[in-house]
């Protein structure tokens, strides 16, 4: 399924990036470009909504790690929204659930 990226900046200071479809080595560069673009535009509190992601592999994981690193170097943060067991499993196996803040919903992630 084609990767979809949708930005919602109606909840300042948060910027919600809704990701749909499959994130793998083919599609991940687009996600990386979008994160880089958002940071360069001054967005610092990004919420990546993974609820409609059908598939995420280690390349996608690496892009999110890179985004987190980039944001933290600008005193920002990258929060994930995910309740799907099959996606969370990838983060749990690699131990990255302790690196990212993971929320159950966009509402929870964007609460001040």
């Amino acid at each position: 399924m084609e990767l979809g990226l949708e930005v919602d900046d109606s909840r300042p200071p948060y910027t919600v990036l809704s990701i749909t479809g499959e994130v793998d080595v083919y599609s991940a560069p687009r996600l990386r470009e979008k994160l880089v673009e958002l940071v360069s535009q001054g967005h610092r509190q990004i919420v990546a909504d993974l609820e409609k992601v059908d598939f995420l592999d280690s390349t996608g994981l690496g892009v999110l790690v890179g985004g987190l690193k980039r944001l933290r170097s600008h005193d920002g943060d990258l929060t994930l929204v995910c309740t799907q067991a099959r996606i969370l499993k990838v983060f749990e196996i690699t131990g990255l659930t302790t690196v990212f803040r993971v929320s159950d919903s966009v509402d929870e992630a964007t609460q001040a």
Partner: protein
């Protein structure tokens, strides 16, 4: 084990989605492994196919990646072969622990450790002219809830070794 499917995949990353769809659909239709492990298979195949395609691309190789599936009652195996320059899986760089701030400097190299944790058996045969990686999933629940049947199959497979599976090709 009987070979059930062989795919010759162009070394282009857009084909990886097709490979994981075909392989996972086959495993699901054959009911060779538990349904809850189909996602594990899909992810593992995708990771290894990514590595294989990148290995071919790194050498400018025009050969396809070959993905072969074997099936038997309560087990499903996949072999992914590239024509790259090979590597030593024991020499893969170790990532710092997640509590180390340097951990965020590692965006790559997550694939093989991930695959190791997803499948029941993983074997590498790497030479300077190519690498074949075997993954095997056994039937029944994941290893934490492994039943006696799966353990018996595991023992039999260990005794047979990879050579047996190759001769069935």
């Amino acid at each position: 084990m009987d070979r059930s499917l062989e795919l010759s995949v162009p070394s282009r990353t857009e084909y990886i989605a097709v490979v994981r769809l075909v392989v996972s659909s086959l495993a699901s239709a054959r009911r060779a492994i538990a349904e809850e492990r189909i996602d594990d298979l899909k992810l593992a195949v995708s990771e290894l196919c990514t590595n294989a395609i990148e290995a071919n691309l790194s050498t400018g190789d025009k050969h396809p990646v070959v993905v072969t599936c074997w099936e038997a009652p309560e087990r499903f195996a996949v072999c992914i072969t590239d024509s790259g320059t090979g590597f030593d899986p024991d020499l893969l760089p170790q990532h710092p622990p997640v509590t180390d701030p340097d951990r965020l400097n590692f965006e790559r190299g997550l694939g093989i450790p991930l695959v190791r944790s997803l499948v029941d058996d993983l074997r590498f045969e790497s030479t300077p002219t190519g690498t074949s990686v075997w993954l095997i999933l056994f039937g029944g629940p994941s290893s934490e809830g492994e039943d006696e049947t799966s353990e018996i199959i595991r023992v039999v497979m260990t005794e047979e070794g990879p050579a047996d599976r190759q001769t069935s090709a």
